[in-house]
Amino acid sequence: MPPAVILFTLVKILLLLVVLLTAVAYAVLFERKVVARMQSRWGPTRVGPHGLLQPLADAVKLLTKEDITPSSAFRFIYTMAPLLSLVFALLAFAVIPFGPPLTLGGVDAFQVADPDIGLLFLFAVSSMGVYGITLAGWSSNSKYSLLGSLRSTAQMISYELAVGLSVIGVLLMTGSLSLRTIVDAQAGTYWGFLPRWHVFPQIVGFFCFYVGAIAETNRLPFDMPEAETELVAGYHTEYSSMKFAMFFMAEYANMVAVSCVATVLFFGGWHGPLFGPPSLQVVLPLFWFALKVFCFLFVYVWLRGTLPRFRYDQLMAFGWKFLMPVALGNVILTSFVIVAWPALSRFWS
């Protein structure tokens, strides 16, 4: 590999991280603002115009707070857990394509890597992300943390199945695990007006995916692991300062990652109407991608402002007895239609 390519790749990864962490910081502000409006409040307004510098103030606050390690904690794992959480949350972005292929200096500008198994890579990363929460709860050596992390582990294992099954429909339709190929398969329109997004034929799959993904990111209405009214703060009860901030960042990075994956798999990725001069046409796909991700983030906050929390046994019953059978049925139906389609269309014509 020539050194220029390595340099360009490193710069690209660095840029992505900067953009991502900024997006994560502002996702927190966005959530506070939107939830506040839903509850007839103003939200943060003091720091900067409309509270726009609030993330900066939060960062300074978290950095300068005292970092406390409980005396009976398992120190090594206690320190590792937030790192694991954040690293696996950020790792997901390594395979997400943000825009059409654009080669700059021998490096694809809008995607870090495009492995043939991109989608499976995402599942591998999300399945490893469980460890951050599990180990945090265990190593804190506190009952609330332990309860929170036990719940969370059970919840994430259960919902991973439904999420995994729900995307098989998309895989059957594209025949590839590469995220770029999946996005490319969604170019164009059905009957001239409806975008060829997978969400239309795979509406059931999308429903299962999104519900499961919300559960996997531990967000309301599935935020059992940190149900503050029952468990103080769940798995990160004992954490403070930057270690707590890492869990916080990991949660929001996971939200952004899920929104990106939903966009890529079901909503056509960067595809959208292109117009204007060539320079605008380079930027527009990125804009469409960001807009779709933004909509998903809004839905996250919207759900939080609307729905009450599930009870734990309801959550498990919903995952195993409803979501998984529905996702499985969707797989069977989709494969049946794909096999029978040629015969059916011959029969009609």
């Binding site: 398992f74 794992i77 492995p115 043939d116 198994i117 499976l120 890579f121 599942f123 591998a124 399945s127 490893m128 469980v130 460890y131 599990t134 180990l135 709860g137 265990w138 332990l146 992390s149 036990l150 582990t153 059970a154 294992i157 991973e160 695990l177």
Partner: protein, 164 residues
């Protein structure tokens, strides 16, 4: 570069495996096992077996080991006290280990001519190829195994279910 990476991941796999045996606390042992699986996945990846590598992470590191850790946490298992080792194990353990290693080495050298090197990157492990093998050439064993697993699941439920 591949060679350096190979030795890195091979050494880390062996290191984690040794750590697994040395650690006294079950959680630390379980975490070392995850390290072993991760290193193995990296080795698969370097051979070009992308699918196998990712499935290794998803199934073993991500699902099986999470259950291990989960059970250890649920039972709140504490440090294991070293048991009184038998004299046999103390004196015969290491020699037998070396004997086993020597035998494996001999078998591998018999199987492969000395100039054969591992070819990085051309292992036939592409997703489509594996799918074709599983669902065409080895369909019957595949289905039989899935029925076997189903029986095991039903058996576990029957055993775990309390009498009303």
């Amino acid at each position: 570069m591949y060679q350096a990476l190979f030795f890195l991941f091979a050494a880390s796999a062996v290191g984690f495996a040794i750590n697994l045996l040395i650690q006294r606390h079950p959680i630390h042992s379980a975490l070392s096992l995850i390290g072993v699986m991760g290193s193995l996945a990296s080795l698969y990846l370097m051979l070009g077996a992308e699918f196998l590598a990712v499935v290794q992470v998803i199934v073993y590191a991500g699902a099986v080991m999470v259950l291990f850790v989960f059970v250890i946490m649920l039972l709140n298992a504490d440090k294991e006290e070293p048991s009184d080792r038998s004299k046999m194990a103390k004196y015969l353990g290491l020699p037998l280990l070396f004997l086993l290693l020597a035998m494996i080495t001999v078998v591998i050298y018999r199987q492969f001519p000395e100039d054969a090197m591992v070819q990085f990157g051309d292992f036939p492990g592409q997703t489509a190829a594996i799918g074709r093998l599983l669902f065409r050439d080895f369909l019957l064993p595949f289905e039989v195994i899935s029925i076997l697993i189903l029986i095991a699941i039903i058996g576990a439920i029957v055993l775990a279910k309390k009498e009303p």
